[in-house]
Subunit: 416 residues, 2 copies
């Protein structure tokens, strides 16, 4: 008997029939003698519908009230799933985050989980019940409902698995695992049976949207054995087969077989690039440029500062494309004269492509192979950024697909 | 400065525009210096949508899970109203029942309010905030969400007014008050400026659907000054005018003017009549017949037992038409042979018409006038039932409208 946490995304919970399929799958696990906690997302479209109503009423919506509103989507889907489980003959009960309790800080719309009480859930599990707990939300010390931000149900599930010391956390989604790259861009993309936590972290942060990055961080911090697998398979498929499907996130580099140098090609399409030209190269200048950008809640990603010439330097960074205009306005109106920059230029149509792999640590030549491949395709590299297990390049968006396919082939990711 | 509780029904909260109108109205009261607590229902249609999903998944839906699901409708509308108030420049905050706390028993889907904590709300009011509290729901001692049953938001509002010792509870709805009878049946129906609590109780219990009966009981028990008025008027209408509109429920018979003998004609259209013929007239026989009916959650209304002849009697009662077949099956299969009844007959198409008025206490002849009026119209009376302030008759449904109009005229309700 194992204690398993299941997480189902909005698509998997998207209709009465799909909820019934989730119940069939969970019932199968229960009948096999396992204890199961299920963390569902809201039915697909529901959170958007609720936030749409809120924005229609008040475009500057108060975040506390947004959380009161948005958190109901998971409460409904959790109740519906409990009903579907009862219909399947499985004893079941649903809880909202505040009923468990899932404790968070008070950062409305992007709260962090501080702790999870396990008593109620363990009592229910020991009484033979399937326990359904709303994803995406918790309650702050003052009793306000909080949400974890988009994709937060992944984090809820992994945190729940950590709190309960679950044997495994199964993230059921509409893809059947983590791929070497996005199959929609490269048809040779191959599903990985396993990926290390660090690689997954890079893949998630680089725009591979299989798992929310904070859930991966949580999995890493608490060593939660996490598997990404499909909710679209036959819910009654044999359990031993299901337990081997998808992609397992591991915590040690696999010593039983030759590790691949590169595990995958990640990319982020909708990036924008901003360059601040002719900046006096003095201490604190980076903060003076990026501080106001961060204060405006704009994520800054790749940052490059050139070698200064005669005490003057250029400063380039990327932001999400949706924030490009806001960032440009901010820099031109509030920062440029203040820091005596000569000019602010930008390009709203760039993308980022990264090769990721723990094997890179012990293999030289990954960077040169990457740059040579791109060069042979005539792709100009605009920016380069590296970490211990990834190399990212920023390039013109129009080259994105070409770059991904060329690198996928060059690193032989199409071969097992 | 007064402390006022506002309640808005589902129709009043039925769209973004209507929620904005509610906010405008509440803002007007706040700007006039009053403290306002608002209890909204779910947006119209939402509770039905949620319960429909639940029934689709599990027709024998577990009541605890139904409450988890159904309670979200008010949480959404409350959050949206708080956002609309903030947009109007009024500081506002919304609470779900469990956040206040509104304590109830554990009778899921039909819970009763046991108490309301006032600290949080009073603190917010004293800080100048409008406080929005979900209607229809609370939390039981084990931390489960409960709902009060259909129309429960009226009860939430009146209970809130009682707990806060509010100066007045304003029930905003899609009609502009309590009428002498249903204007759709009798075009001469006239709005009452005031009605006594006892009359309102009879009107509510007799099928006049303006206020949920439990809310009227609550208003009576705690002497909550309650006014039923329209939410469809101009939200910015002058406050003194609005404060005199609608119908006020009072607690003493008005001595300053001649009380009308009869205040109104109430009716319940969808009734059914069941007769158990040839029952041995022995102690406990009524319980043996009605016990199983009550156990099946069927409401029994008018009950008549004839004088027995030779130790044999007939027993007649009414049930809601929707429960007629269920009650008949139950009696024929499980009760008839047990009590040695000769026959069970019934009529699923009867209605009940009642004249209601505290003035009846001091005026003789109301009953005879009622029976004469019906007789003159050729309407056969099937059953009669009386209380101190009302007389009800059961008649064939086809005579309903005729009876209501004739009685309305006979008791001069069309005249001020």
């Amino acid at each position: 008997m194992a204690l398993i946490v299941h997480k189902y995304g909005g698509t998997s919970m998207g209709s009465v029939e799909r909820i019934q399929n989730v119940a069939k799958r969970v019932a199968k696990w229960m009948r096999a003698g396992h204890q199961v906690v299920v963390v569902p997302s809201a039915m697909s479209g529901e959170t958007n519908r609720l936030l749409g109503l809120a924005k229609e009423i008040n475009s500057q919506a108060n975040p506390r009230e947004l959380d009161q509103i948005a958190s109901t989507g998971e409460q409904v889907s959790s109740g519906l799933l409990a009903l579907a489980l009862l219909k399947e003959g499985v004893d079941a009960i649903s809880y909202a985050g505040w009923q468990v309790t899932i404790h968070t800080d008070s950062a409305f719309t992007k709260a962090r989980i501080m702790g999870i009480d396990d008593q109620k859930i363990l009592a229910d599990l020991n009484a033979g019940r399937a326990v359904v707990v709303t994803g995406f939300q918790g309650v702050d010390p003052q009793g306000n409902i909080t949400t974890l931000g988009r994709g937060g149900s992944d984090t809820s599930a992994v945190a729940m698995a950590a709190a309960l010391k679950a044997d495994e956390c199964l993230i059921y989604t509409d893809v059947d695992g983590v791929y070497t790259t996005d199959p929609r861009v490269c048809e040779d993309a191959r599903r990985l049976d396993r990926i290390t936590f660090e690689e997954m972290l890079e893949m998630a942060s680089l725009g591979s949207k299989v798992l929310q990055i904070r859930s991966v961080e949580f999995a890493g911090k608490y060593k939660v054995k996490t598997r990404v697998l499909s909710s679209l398979t036959d819910p009654l498929m044999p359990l031993d087969q299901e337990m081997k499907s998808g992609t397992l996130i591991t915590f040690e580099e696999d010593s039983t077989m030759e590790a691949a140098v590169i595990s995958g090609i990640a990319f982020a399409r909708d990036e924008a690039k901003i360059t601040v030209l002719g900046v006096p190269d003095r201490p604190g200048i980076a903060y003076q440029i990026l501080g106001p950008v961060a204060d405006a809640n704009i994520d800054v990603d790749v940052i490059i500062q050139n070698q200064s010439v005669d005490g003057i330097t250029d400063f380039t960074f990327t932001v999400p494309r949706a924030d490009y205009q806001k960032a440009m306005d901010l820099l031109k109106n509030k920062v440029q004269s203040h820091i005596q920059a000569k000019e602010i230029t930008g390009d709203p149509k760039v993308s980022k492509v990264s090769v990721v792999g723990v094997g890179m640590r012990s293999h030289v030549g990954v960077a040169s192979k990457m740059f040579r491949t791109l060069s042979e395709e005539g792709i100009n590299i605009l920016m380069i950024s590296t970490s211990e297990i990834k190399i990212s390049v920023v390039l013109d968006e129009k080259y994105l697909e070409l770059a991904v396919r060329a690198l996928h082939k060059a690193f032989e990711l199409d071969q097992q």
